[in-house]
Symmetry: C2
Subunit: 378 residues, 2 copies
């Protein structure tokens, strides 16, 4: 089982719901309620999901047998009525192996538990490896994480730079020289667990949506790193676009007479905002000039975001950047540009903020990908 | 029953599927299959929907009793096996009353049958009426259409300028001076049929998607009229955004030092592309200058679309404009600008074209709104 970044709803497009789909859907609902709201009685779960008590008892019995949930005794505050046993997720019942391939210097790995806690980290230096050598590094890191885990492993989740299709193939990642690199399929052949791959900004968006501070169902996360990319959640689902390239805004040309870009054109968003270009400009600048440089870059990002925010009437816009570039000057300038360039009915309600997960957003999003794909958690 | 522009899937968010939802869903699937693929046998319908033959027989019996479908004899090409009776939609079993309020001079009305054919038109001159007087004109036009119909009426569908919420209230339509105008609710009180209202560009997008030449599941339609707005379909569903303003791109500022706009700012997309501004510039120009003017305007639209197309990796971009402004020069310039400003992996696959329905797109989209809301047709 490789790739795939969206939990399919039990009602297939143009087809009827099958019993196994319904079971999986209901199971995902129960786990989702426990993830979101913590330990609850079977009766509470039946109420919040709309399922019958009999169905709920069966589902909970299955989950207990699998060790995914446990009985936690009775609530302390219950004084009247028949005592109800609480049921809760066992955070370390399973481990998820997560990889973040977005950094220039290192591939990051982590073992993540079911509660989204990072229980162990592993890192390998990339040493400028590309192509098959870079892919081999990914396999080694995943095997290393698997060996380090002392729990049953739910799956491997990977956030990769570039365009990633729904089979876990990296269609194009220029920096790693990957073209149709079958990362998901190859890894799944080598490891005894399911593998899921998505674009790094998509993973970061999933992470912020699930474990960060998201308040709505739709949001965009802009990830500033070696390049600039975005992850887009529409009604709680990653939106991938016509050819899995949704969010690839780094090479939108803002100014045809702007600075030359690695892509051969001029004035791409990346020339203004990507981390290497920004650091180049900041290096050796005085503090005052630094703020002006960060404001100018933020303004450029705001120009692009103004159009996107208007087209989608988005409320939540989340920024993800390396800690040395995460500045209020940059954020404020981007926000000001959005406000100046969108109509107030839209701009008044934009919330532009840095993510709550910092640089772990890709790792935790990779965990969400596995949780949703393997357990049906919504 | 007012407002509402999306057919709800039977699986509610976080809740279980109820029997009546399932029946409605299955019924919508059957009607959808008949709308899309024409007359079929019950066995074919069972196969294409995945429902059992027994369930299908029951569903078809219900639809026959309601007069929505009819038996059409046996297929001419069937030579072996048990003869199968074909079942098909009865196009004039119901009428839909459709209103297009987007034009400056007239409110347009039409009676549309279940096959999307306009069987009668009615028009009222607006004579610059706004506020309550404009709303009264809408009521009169709907009543006029109702009186003119000789079939049971499925409902009223309306495409209105401005931001329209999911209860059929026009939150803001500056030109008509409507602010929180409860168009859907007021009309539903006066007419004995359900009323559904959406934004005019959203309606046009629905119309093109269903009755036009759409090939994919996601598309944007840009409607150029008194203003500029867009309708966005994501995976076959209208996307409305945080506050129902998705697609409101007319007041995205492209150039802060550009021409003054009615909104008080400068350089909004509307100042370059809206019909009145464009006609002003074209009036009295020589043919050669006309082309240059249209190309300049198309380029401005392309600037905005490049960012949107990249963010969503959209393949289908449909233009809707008054016939006097629908020119190849405009389209080609917009296309060139999109290509110059998006990365080839995205831009190479953009299909930018005028819609197949011409100026009837809003009327026919209003019909789709009613079909999907009232019959569950997907």
């Amino acid at each position: 089982v490789t790739g795939g970044s969206q939990w399919k709803s039990p009602t297939r497009a143009g087809g009827k719901a099958l019993p196994e789909d319904t079971r999986r859907h209901n199971r995902g609902m129960v786990l989702g309620a426990l993830f979101r709201s913590g330990p609850q009685s079977r009766a509470d779960l039946a109420r919040s999901t709309g399922l019958s008590r009999v169905t709920m008892s069966d589902l909970v019995a299955d989950l207990l047998a699998e060790g995914l949930v446990e009985e936690l005794g009775r609530p302390e505050d219950q004084t009247i009525g028949k005592p109800a046993t609480l049921v809760g997720i066992v955070p370390d019942a399973r481990h998820i192996l997560c990889l973040d391939l977005s950094d220039e210097e290192h591939f990051q790995g982590a073992i993540v538990d079911l509660a989204g806690k990072i229980v162990e980290r592993r890192t390998v230096r990339r040493r400028a490896r590309t192509g098959g050598a870079a892919a081999a590094l990914v396999v080694g890191l995943a095997q290393d994480l698997l060996a380090a885990s002392d729990r049953p492993v739910l799956g491997v989740g990977i956030g990769s730079p570039g365009v990633v299709d729904d089979e876990g193939t990296v269609v194009e990642a220029a920096r790693l020289r990957w073209h149709d690199e079958r990362l998901g399929a190859d890894l799944a052949q080598r490891l005894p667990v399911p593998v899921h791959v998505t674009n790094d900004a998509n993973a970061a968006a999933l992470g912020e949506y699930t474990f960060g501070g998201a308040t709505g169902k739709s949001m965009i996360l802009v990830k500033i790193g070696q390049g600039v990319g975005a992850g887009l959640l529409i009604d709680g689902q990653l939106f991938l676009g016509d050819r899995f390239a949704a969010g690839e805004i780094g090479h939108v040309v803002l100014d045809e007479r702007g600075d030359p870009c690695t892509c051969g054109r001029r004035g791409c968003l990346e020339t203004a905002v990507a981390a290497p270009r920004l650091r180049e400009r900041l290096d050796g600048s005085a503090a005052k000039t630094r703020t002006a440089i960060l404001r100018a870059a933020g303004t450029k990002l705001g120009l692009a975001l103004a159009t996107i925010v208007s087209a989608l009437n988005l409320h939540e816009v989340v920024l993800s950047a390396p800690s040395d570039l995460s500045s209020e000057a940059f954020r404020a300038a981007a926000y000001d540009a959005i406000r100046r360039r969108t109509m107030p009915a839209v701009g008044d309600h934009v919330d532009l903020r840095y993510g709550a997960l910092g640089e772990d957003d890709v790792l935790l999003g990779a965990a969400v990908l596995v949780l949703s794909s393997e357990l049906g958690v919504q």
